[in-house]
Symmetry: C2
Amino acid sequence: MSIKYAILGLLSWHPYTGYELKKAFPNIPALYWSGNNNQIYRTLVQLHNEKLVTRQIEIQDNYPSKKIYTITEKGLHELKNWLLTVPEPPQLKNTFMIKLSFADQLNKEEIQKQLLDYKNEINSQILIIKELQKRGNGKPKRGKRETYLWEMIHRRWISYYSNELEWIKELQKNIK
Amino acid sequence: MSIKYAILGLLSWHPYTGYELKKAFPNIPALYWSGNNNQIYRTLVQLHNEKLVTRQIEIQDNYPSKKIYTITEKGLHELKNWLLTVPEPPQLKNTFMIKLSFADQLNKEEIQKQLLDYKNEINSQILIIKELQKRGNGKPKRGKRETYLWEMIHRRWISYYSNELEWIKELQKNIK
DNA sequence: TTTCTCATGTAACGCGTTACATGATTAC
DNA sequence: GTAATCATGTAACGCGTTACATGAGAAA
């Protein structure tokens, strides 16, 4: 349940509503894939029950009323404890690799087709991240160190995809 | 549900029992993290219902009787169709990256500690894969092309971890 | 007029994990 | 005597996804 801590992390910057959180997620490279309605609203209720956040309701005339969540001292503590837990290894689930593992069922044209499609997929992934980085939404922009960390994270992601591309190229050359 | 296709993929080599499949999974780099009892036995029943596999029961004297699963024509078809579906982008869930994103809560010693622990984690991950590759279990060893693919997959995994190490080194140097 | 934004939420499902359960045999 | 291997399975839970639902106001 890293979503819980992701939300706490975001709330450690400043208060958010559920709706804002939902929009913030796609801007954070480490978790841009995640954060749908259901999870966020449910987790927020849970965090509130655990007294890790407080909630203020702001009534608006022309729009539905907002619920603004603020992190508590206890919440900051919980976040920090999590940050200090032992790091887990990354879990990369690459369905394409599984496919390749059993690609002997395919002829070379079919494999080449898949490689090409995968390459395109990776390329658009790179575009997305570069766009994210350029627009620079959802970044904290507070301390120098934090800015550096965010840049490094972006770079790591891009480098991952670039390496994937090189790897694909080599495969394309050798599958014949 | 890629486990379904992973199992079909394995069965496309030769028949397996559930127990053997369970042991085979950790030897396959693309899915070494997966494949627990529950999933495998449940999926096998499901595959059988869908007539994608057949099942022979082999009674043994001194051991519990085996259920040997063999892929059917329909199963091979299903597998091949899956292999030809459009590739999905890799989903890398790296909890450590999420942590780093919010690491501003930590002082430099604490971050350095986390980086060191993560580095060790990655190193042992590399050892595991290299060991896998060396022992060379669970590889098909049939055609030349298949052997090549498996080697490329191993290489990609190792390169991913190596790049992660370099990235960590840079962080270690600059966080002060 | 249709679509988008603001803002909240629920229902149902799917995939995967951990832990539990059995029971004989063989290796240390 | 203890642990591991062979071989099967079930129960319960957790996390996440997709889709559904409401309802007003602003923009295309």
